[in-house]
């Protein structure tokens, strides 16, 4: 009997799980920065509308109509999201804004990614990709297995270079 009860409970739990996957269930808590994100959406909508005013708008089928409609939808959606975010309490497990948005690992990879793109025109694909891979992997593995990671990066870049440049005839940066 206890087994039957347990299986019934599990079934119920999964029923609610599958149910919640199909139908939207509003989040109960707000994440750090959620209000700012909604506010930025409102700003985007407002800017979109403001710059659409410069476009010709002599009739209802002129080029400015659809940008204005899209901007109003963004503005309204942002407003609703902002109001909803204000109504919800901040998540109990919330960290401070920066560590939630950009944990150290993500931030450093983001910086590496930007540097990688800046280096592409100067170092070209093989060298910059190799450096990006070595640095990002060293960061992710906290400096362990350095030589193994160098080998892995060199092999990966070589395979990608040969495959895309010579087999698929793709022009690389």
């Amino acid at each position: 009997m206890p087994d039957a009860t347990k299986s019934h409970q599990t079934e119920e739990h999964h029923a609610s799980e599958s149910h919640s996957l199909a139908v939207y269930v509003a989040e109960k808590e707000r994440q750090p920065g959620e209000r700012t994100f909604a506010f930025l959406l409102i700003l985007l909508g407002a800017f979109g509308y403001y710059f659409a005013l410069d476009l010709s708008s002599d009739s209802y089928s002129s080029p400015s109509v659809f940008p204005k409609i899209a901007s109003v939808v963004i503005l309204a959606g942002g407003l609703i999201s902002l109001v909803r975010a204000y109504k919800r309490p901040l998540a109990a497990t919330a960290q401070n804004l920066l560590s939630y948005l950009l944990p150290k690992k993500v931030l450093m990879l983001l910086v590496l990614m930007v540097l990688y793109c800046l280096a592409l025109p100067y170092l070209h694909f093989p060298a910059s990709s190799f450096l990006f891979l070595v640095l990002s992997l060293t960061l992710l593995y906290r400096g362990r297995h350095f030589f193994r990671l160098c080998l892995y990066s060199a092999a990966a870049v070589a395979i990608l270079f040969l495959l895309f440049r010579y087999v698929m005839l793709v022009i690389l940066p």
């Binding site: 299986s7 599990t10 079934e11 999964h14 799980e17 599958s18 149910h19 919640s20 996957l21 199909a22 139908v23 939207y24 509003a26 989040e27 920065g33 959620e34 959406l41 985007l44 979109g48 710059f51 659409a52 476009l55 009739s59 209802y60 089928s61 002129s62 080029p63 109509v65 659809f66 940008p67 899209a70 901007s71 939808v73 963004i74 959606g77 999201s81 909803r84 944990p103 690992k105 993500v106 990879l109 990614m113 930007v114 990688y116 793109c117 592409l120 025109p121 990709s129 891979l133 990002s136 992710l140 593995y141 892995y152 990966a156 895309f164 698929m168 793709v170 022009i171 690389l172 940066p173």
Partner: protein, 498 residues
């Protein structure tokens, strides 16, 4: 029909196309099986690499990757409890407990075999129904196409468990982004701010790779590197007894999958969840309770999401409306190769339609063979740490974006969209509607709206009364209003869901 059958046979005689389909399925399965890599990401990246290819070859590869990717997603759901694609979420509910009992080999083998049958049913429905729907869609006016476009963007954001308001907002952002550049009708510059780089508009492939590739990689970096549990895979081919027992349920679920997949705005994920729910209601005495490793709970969603492959191609090819993010990306792929998904695609280029159906058919067969053969290596592949994979995804994203038009400006746009997508995911804004908004915004929604308005003599009253006087427009409008209403709290209360 007979003409379609003739075109249907072409890929069987072209060895190059055949090899590419099998290679695509192979890559798709493995990409789908690696946690963090999804079919959407794979096709986004693939689009640029197949730019210079002959159309047939590019389509063959993408159809293969699409089918293989949907299948591969289930493997990680069973072995790791990490669904590789939204369509495999329901499969993990019973698939993972089965794997934990050491029955992963049997589970994958059975769901592969039944998936093949389900996939064939989906493709068969595509072959027979698409020409009929295309013929009907010829009666659509620009106003109806405008409504269909709105429907696609609204539905992709609201169905499948997301906040409908967030989905609609993001879809509108996509539409706004698509407005950047020269207006194709008047030549007027919109939102270019004098920049030469923005005059050609923001390429949707750059946005797509950023939103699906880079943002996914950044999100994965947030979590710790999870070491996979080694799996013991013994028997792969399912016993005939099991196959006989679960085939009827598989076929029923696949038909459900085709129907749900064919509805504009719904894809494999919704189909799989509905099929799981249906199987649970209709199975009287399961050997094992649902949620604890019931085979029915794995067979039903897997058959449904494979049936939905063919189903989702019906609105995609005939109306130009995708079911989910993956089919939205497929639409993008067709656009890149100069094809316009819509009624004219099936009617004016029946050879392409026939070949796409045929490619899907071969891909489903290849999925069965390669799926069964790769079960053992899968168990090893999924143990590759994602820390090794994700930096490679970023490098691939850069190669893919640069290949669009050999411009570093596209790479910059890709990174900007990657960062935007990362923040969107953090705050649970769906990325699918944004991509669809960019794809459909300027070329489909804006153009059809303006055509409809011009046909109404630029008179607001005539334009709006057209929605009520044309039966087709009225039907589409009611459908949109109902779909929006079904997401409201009032509807959920009426249905007793809340």
């Amino acid at each position: 029909m007979l003409e379609n059958l003739h075109y249907f046979l072409i890929p069987f005689t072209n060895w190059e196309v055949m090899i590419l389909i099998w290679a695509g399925v192979f890559c798709g399965i493995w990409l789908g099986a690696i946690p963090g890599l999804s079919v959407t990401m794979a096709i986004s990246l693939l689009i640029t690499f197949t730019f210079s290819w002959e159309l047939n070859n590019a389509l063959a590869m993408m159809c293969g990757v699409f089918v293989g990717g949907v299948y591969g997603g289930a493997i990680t759901a069973i072995l790791l409890n990490i669904p590789g694609a939204p369509a495999s979420v329901a499969s993990s509910l019973d698939g993972y407990p089965l794997g934990q009992k050491g029955q992963a080999g049997m589970a994958i083998g059975l769901c592969t075999t039944i998936s093949v049958f389900a996939g064939f049913i989906g493709v068969l429905c595509l072959l027979t129904l698409a020409p009929v729907i295309s013929d009907f869609a010829l009666r659509f006016s620009p106003r109806d196409f405008f409504l269909l476009g709105c429907m696609g963007i609204l539905l992709i954001g609201s169905i499948g468990g997301g906040d409908p308001i967030k989905g609609i907002t993001v879809g509108a952002i996509g539409v706004l982004v698509s407005m950047v550049g020269m207006d194709p009708e008047t030549g007027e510059m919109r939102y270019t701010f004098g920049s030469v780089n923005l005059m050609g508009g923001i390429h949707f492939v750059a946005a797509m790779i950023g939103l699906f590739g880079v943002s996914e990689a950044l999100i994965q970096f947030r979590s710790e590197n999870i070491e996979a549990v080694p799996q013991n895979i013994n028997r792969v081919f399912p016993p005939l007894r099991l196959l006989k027992k679960y085939l009827p349920l598989g076929l029923r679920s696949s038909v459900l999958g085709v129907i749900v997949g064919a509805l504009p705005g719904t894809g494999g994920d919704v189909a799989a969840l509905l099929a799981y729910d249906q199987a649970k209601r209709t199975t009287k005495n399961p050997e094992v309770a649902f949620g604890e490793g019931a085979i029915e709970g794995l067979v039903a969603p897997e058959a449904a999401n494979k049936g939905a492959i063919g189903g989702a191609f019906i609105p995609m090819l005939t109306l130009g409306i995708p079911g989910d993010a993956a089919t939205a990306v497929m639409i993008g792929a067709l656009f890149v190769h100069g094809l316009r998904p819509g009624p004219m695609l099936v009617l004016e280029t029946p050879h392409l339609f026939g070949m796409i159906v045929s490619m899907l058919f071969i891909a489903v067969f290849a999925m069965g063979v390669l799926g069964l053969l790769s079960v053992r290596p899968f168990a090893k592949v999924i143990e590759i740490p994602k820390n090794l994979i994700m930096p490679l995804v970023i490098v691939l994203s850069v190669i893919g974006t640069f290949a669009i038009q050999n411009s570093l400006a596209d790479v910059v746009a890709m990174i900007v969209f990657g960062i935007l997508g990362y923040f969107m995911r953090l705050y649970k804004y769906p990325t699918g509607p944004l991509v669809l908004g960019i794809i459909l915004g300027s070329t489909f929604l804006d153009q059809n709206y303006r055509r409809a308005m011009q046909m109404a003599g630029n008179d607001l009253g005539t334009f709006f009364s057209g929605f009520l006087t044309s039966p087709l427009s009225l039907f589409l409008l009611i459908f949109i209003v109902f779909m929006l209403f079904s997401q409201t709290r009032i509807y959920r209360k009426l249905r007793g869901l809340e």
